[in-house]
C-alpha cells in the first residue's frame, strides 16, 4: 500500500483525510483505486476521457511523474504519491 497525500481542495471528497493508504502498482492504478474508494474525486481528478485532469500534477516521492513514465510509473509500497494543482511562477 502506497500513501497518497490529498490536498485541502480535495479533502471534502475524502471525509477530511489528508493521507490515504491505497493499493495499485502504477500511478494509474493508484488513482483508479482512489476514485473507486472515494467516487466524489472522479470529477476532479479525471477528465471526460478518463485521463488525468490537466490542472493536476502528480508527484512520486517528490518527482513529477511526467519525468518518469507518467501514469504508467511503477508505484512501490513505500512510495508517497502527492497530488498538487499545476501552478508555478517566479
Amino acid at each position: 500500500m502506497s500513501t497518497v497525500r490529498i490536498p485541502p481542495t480535495l479533502r471534502v471528497a475524502t471525509g477530511g483525510a489528508k493521507e490515504i493508504e491505497i493499493g495499485g502498482s502504477t500511478v494509474r492504478e493508484v488513482l483508479a483505486d482512489l476514485v473507486a474508494t472515494h467516487p466524489a474525486l472522479a470529477a476532479q481528478l479525471l477528465d471526460a476521457q478518463g485521463e488525468l485532469n490537466r490542472f493536476i500534477n502528480v508527484f512520486l516521492n517528490d518527482t513529477d511523474v511526467r519525468y518518469l513514465d507518467a501514469l504508467e510509473t511503477r508505484v512501490d509500497a513505500r512510495d508517497r504519491v502527492v497530488l498538487l494543482p499545476a501552478m508555478a511562477g517566479g
Binding site: P7, F55, V82, M87, A88, G89
Partner: protein
C-alpha cells in the same frame, strides 16, 4: 516554523460593488473563499473578477491622470477593497523612446518600458504590492514565496514595508546578489537543493499547511493581477492607445497573459479604442517549453526538467500559464522566441551601450526576442513596438560578460583599465598607448 496554523476566517473581496470575488478561469465556477487559489470543482486556477460596468462608471482618463503616480492610480481594476495604507511606491516607470537600440535591431518605432526602476528593481514589485495588500486585508501572519530570484527581493521588501515577516524559498544555486538582496530586508531565506520547479512544488504543499501568504501560490489570484498595471501604464504612456506589438518575457506566462488582459479591460471600460496588438514572448533556449510548443505548432507545452541557461529568472520548466501564453501569441499573430544565452548577453550589452539601461538576463532575452520577431516578419517595418524590460542588471552582474568579444586589458574585463599611478604623466602615457 509553525505548521498547521489555521487559515484566517474568510474575508471575501466583495466589499466594493466593482469586485465580484474569485472565479475559476477554466470552468467559471464562483469561489466564495478568501484565500482560495484552486477551483474545488475542476482544480483550475482561480482569478479575480470585476463588474466592468461599475468600473466604467468610476474611471475615466482625467480621473486617473489627476491621481498620484504608482499602480494604485488604477485601483478600480485591482482586486483589493481600498488603496493600502502602507506599502512601497511601485509603478509609473518610464516609457522611453529607444531610437539607438531600435536602429540596432531593425525596429524604427521602439519604446522601452523600463521596469528596472521599481523599488526592488524588477516588475515583481507590482504583483507583490497587490498580494501584500490583500494579505494585510486578510490578516495573514507572514508573506512567503517560491522565487527564481526577483520575487525574493520583492517579497522581502514588501513584507518589511507592511510589517510582516517574510519567508523566501529559492533554488540553492541562485545568484548571490539576489540572495543578499532579500536578506537585506530582513527576510528568512530558505535555499532548497533543487530546481525552481522543486521549490514551487514544496511551496504548494507548505501553503496548505501554514497560515502564510505565499504571494505566488495561495495569493496568486491577487498577485497575478498586479502585472496588468504594466499594460495600463503602457497604454496611458502612449496617450491612451495600444502599440502594434508588445514584447515581454515568459517564465510562468502570467506577466505575458496579464498584459493581454490589461489592454482588454481598458478597451472594455472605454478608456482605449480596441486595436489589434501582436504579443511576442521571449524565453531562454535552455528552458523554452512555450517557445518550443509555438515552434512545433503544439497546443500545449512539454515540461523541461533541467533548465540549462544563465537566465535564471525565466527558468521555469513547468509554466502554469504556458498554455494561455501560447494561445495569446497565436491568436494575435505574435510569436514566442527561444533565445540562446550568447544572444541574451549580447543584447544586455547593447541595451546598456545604446540606451543607458542596464538589464538583467530576462531583459536581454526580451530585446533579442524583438530582434528575432523582426527577422521572422512578425514585427513589420513601421510597427510601433514596446519591449518590457523587467529587471535590473545589478541582479545578474556576471551575465553580460558571456561571449563578450575579447577586448579585455590587464584587468581582464572589457573596458576596465589596469590601475594607473596618480600622476598626469601616467595617464598621458596610457592615453598615448591607447591612441
Amino acid at each position: 516554523m509553525t505548521l498547521a496554523t489555521p487559515i484566517p476566517p474568510s474575508t471575501p473581496v466583495t466589499g466594493e460593488a466593482r469586485l465580484r470575488g474569485l472565479a475559476c478561469r477554466s470552468c467559471g465556477r464562483p469561489e466564495p473563499g478568501a484565500l482560495a487559489f484552486v477551483c474545488p470543482a475542476c482544480f483550475g486556477p482561480l482569478e479575480a473578477r470585476y463588474d466592468l460596468d461599475v468600473v466604467a462608471g468610476q474611471l475615466n482618463r482625467e480621473f486617473i491622470g489627476a491621481r498620484a503616480p504608482g499602480i494604485w492610480r488604477y485601483l478600480e481594476l485591482l482586486p483589493v477593497a481600498a488603496q493600502p495604507a502602507r506599502g512601497l511606491a511601485v509603478g509609473s516607470t518610464p516609457l522611453l523612446r529607444a531610437g539607438r537600440l531600435g536602429e540596432r535591431i531593425g525596429v524604427e518605432r521602439l519604446w522601452i518600458k523600463d521596469d528596472t526602476r521599481n523599488p526592488t528593481l524588477s516588475f515583481k514589485d507590482r504583483a507583490v504590492a497587490v498580494a501584500a495588500a490583500r494579505a494585510v486585508e486578510l490578516g495573514l501572519e507572514a508573506l512567503a514565496c517560491a522565487s527564481t530570484g526577483n520575487l525574493a527581493g520583492a517579497t522581502a521588501a514588501a513584507a518589511a514595508a507592511v510589517g510582516l515577516p517574510a519567508y523566501v524559498f529559492i533554488p540553492a544555486d541562485l545568484e548571490p546578489a539576489k540572495i543578499d538582496h532579500a536578506l537585506a530586508y530582513g527576510a528568512t531565506v530558505v535555499p532548497i537543493e533543487g530546481t525552481y520547479d522543486d521549490v514551487n512544488r514544496l511551496c504548494l504543499e507548505l501553503a496548505d499547511e501554514t497560515g502564510w501568504g505565499f504571494v505566488n501560490v495561495n495569493l496568486r489570484p491577487f498577485y497575478a493581477e498586479g502585472s496588468k498595471t504594466l499594460a495600463f501604464e503602457i497604454a496611458e504612456g502612449l496617450g491612451w492607445r495600444t502599440p502594434d506589438v508588445v514584447v515581454a518575457p515568459i517564465a510562468s506566462g502570467a506577466l505575458f497573459t496579464k498584459l493581454g488582459r490589461g489592454f482588454d479591460e481598458l478597451a472594455r471600460i472605454g478608456l482605449i479604442e480596441r486595436r489589434p496588438v501582436r504579443f511576442v514572448g521571449g524565453q531562454a533556449a535552455g528552458c523554452a517549453p512555450v517557445a518550443n510548443a509555438w515552434q512545433d505548432g503544439s497546443p500545449t507545452w512539454s515540461p523541461v526538467r533541467t533548465p540549462d541557461t544563465i537566465v535564471r529568472s525565466l527558468a521555469i520548466g513547468s509554466p502554469a500559464d504556458g498554455e494561455e501564453a501560447l494561445a495569446l501569441a497565436r491568436a494575435t499573430g505574435g510569436s514566442v522566441e527561444a533565445i540562446p544565452d550568447d544572444d541574451t548577453a549580447a543584447a544586455i550589452r547593447d541595451i546598456a551601450r545604446l540606451e543607458g539601461i542596464y538589464v538583467e538576463t530576462a531583459g536581454g532575452v526580451t530585446v533579442a526576442a524583438a530582434e528575432a520577431a523582426r527577422r521572422r516578419g512578425v514585427i513589420r517595418p513601421g510597427d510601433e513596438v514596446v519591449v518590457v524590460l523587467s529587471g535590473n542588471g545589478l541582479k545578474t552582474p556576471d551575465a553580460r560578460r558571456l561571449g563578450a568579444p575579447d577586448q579585455a586589458d590587464a584587468a581582464g574585463r572589457p573596458g576596465l583599465v589596469a590601475p594607473l599611478r596618480p600622476t598626469l604623466t601616467a595617464v598621458e602615457a596610457w592615453l598615448e598607448a591607447r591612441a
